[in-house]
């Protein structure tokens, strides 16, 4: 049974509301998840440790469905971190300079490649 919900993507969380309420019913943390196109107008979110459990969402149009899929695929913090590392490397290769140096954050653990545990 599909229930009508207001769905809001805020940073790496997907909040969902009953359409007439201000407080969300719940949220999904969008890390380590997979966004899949299902049938027409429908996409699903599933998580790495429980891949068979799918949270399904039906959109009003195929276009809207694609927009959501694209947005959700980019929504995780980990995705952004990878993008940042990618851009940093590319800029370094092209210009010979580390673009993070001018901001004094080039040594920040979160911008380094690979996992790191202190």
């Amino acid at each position: 049974v599909l229930k009508k919900r207001l769905v809001k993507l805020v940073v790496n969380f997907l909040f969902y509301f009953r359409t007439d309420e201000a407080e969300p019913i719940g949220a999904l943390l969008l890390e380590h998840c997979r966004i899949t196109k299902e049938e027409e107008n429908v996409f699903s979110i599933s998580f790495i440790e429980e891949p068979e459990r799918k949270y399904c969402f039906e959109c009003d149009s195929e276009e809207q469905c694609q927009e959501w899929i694209e947005a959700l695929k980019r929504a995780s913090y980990e995705f952004m971190r990878r993008s940042l590392i990618f851009y940093r490397n590319e800029i370094q290769k092209m210009t010979g300079k580390d673009p993070l140096e001018q901001y004094g954050i080039s040594e920040e653990a979160r911008f380094q490649l690979g996992t790191h545990k202190p």
Partner: protein, 269 residues
């Protein structure tokens, strides 16, 4: 409010990048209506793990599941005048939200935590990514200009060496990124008061444009509540700049391949 707790717990304990971890003492917050006049503050030692914009805490280092989670959006991290030494607080713009008072083991640990937490927000990361995206585009453009066939009109662009700071648009605003701070939901940026060794004074970054339109999301149907800015400049390697990179690298590879083929012909008659 429901949360996909199992996935969250899994994320907390898996081996995805940990940005900081360590023991901290966490102040136990008593409810205001539990009104006794003796201020007995107590602290509990917990194992804290920072991953991205999420601060998890565990009862013990070996615990399989986190006890709790603090989402580091719309907050400031400040040194705190508690009776305890090496105390700092995470405070939220939302007046109703409780603050977290945490105590580190020493000066160095406290500074490391404050620094790590100050830059932990998703919004801060997004800011940095957008800037780098712009810089990469700039770098691509001037490289493309350099690589084009030499005509008189392009000589001025060739003069622009890539290390020229004029190419890096953000030089005039370094403090914006040194004190990463963001608001969430509210329209008023506060000041980041975290002391920064680098010498940058606390200046809040400009409010990202999406904040003003986010509040007006349509009710009644799933609407992509995304700012136009987010859709225009997607945070991903698949920007059209990437295709420019492809063609630029492609030229280099074509040259290398020709050279290799020449060598092959000479080496293997």
């Amino acid at each position: 409010m429901k949360l996909n707790e199992r996935s969250v717990a899994h994320y907390a304990t898996c081996d995805s990048p940990t940005d900081h971890a360590g023991f901290l003492r966490k102040r136990v917050e008593r409810h205001h209506h539990h009104a006794h006049h003796h201020h007995s503050t107590s602290y509990q030692r917990r194992w804290f793990v920072l991953k991205g914009n999420l601060l998890f805490y565990f009862e013990e280092r070996e615990s399989r599941e986190p006890m709790g989670l603090v989402v580091l959006e719309g907050c400031t991290v400040e040194l705190c005048e508690a009776a305890e030494e090496f105390a700092f607080a995470i405070r939220f713009d939302d007046a109703g939200a409780r603050a977290y008072v945490l105590v580190a083991d020493g000066q160095a640990a406290m500074e490391a935590w404050v620094k790590a937490l100050s830059r932990a927000s998703f919004d801060y990361m997004r800011l940095v990514v957008r800037e780098l995206e712009k810089q990469l585009e700039e770098a691509c453009k001037s490289l493309a200009a350099c690589c084009k066939s030499p005509r008189r009109s392009s000589s001025s662009s060739r003069k622009r060496h890539l290390s020229n700071p004029a190419l890096l648009p953000l030089q005039e605003k370094p403090t914006m990124l040194e004190n990463g701070y963001s608001t969430w939901g509210s329209g008023v940026p506060g000041g980041a008061t975290c002391p920064d060794r680098d010498g940058g004074h606390a200046k809040p970054p400009p409010l990202p444009p999406r904040r003003r339109s986010a509040a007006g999301s349509a009710v009644g149907f799933p609407a992509p509540s995304l700012s136009p800015t987010m859709l225009e400049s997607p945070v991903s390697p698949e920007t059209d700049c990437f295709s420019k990179l492809h063609s630029w690298y492609g030229q280099e590879i074509a040259v290398l391949r020709r050279e290799w083929q020449e060598r092959q012909k000479r080496g293997h008659p």
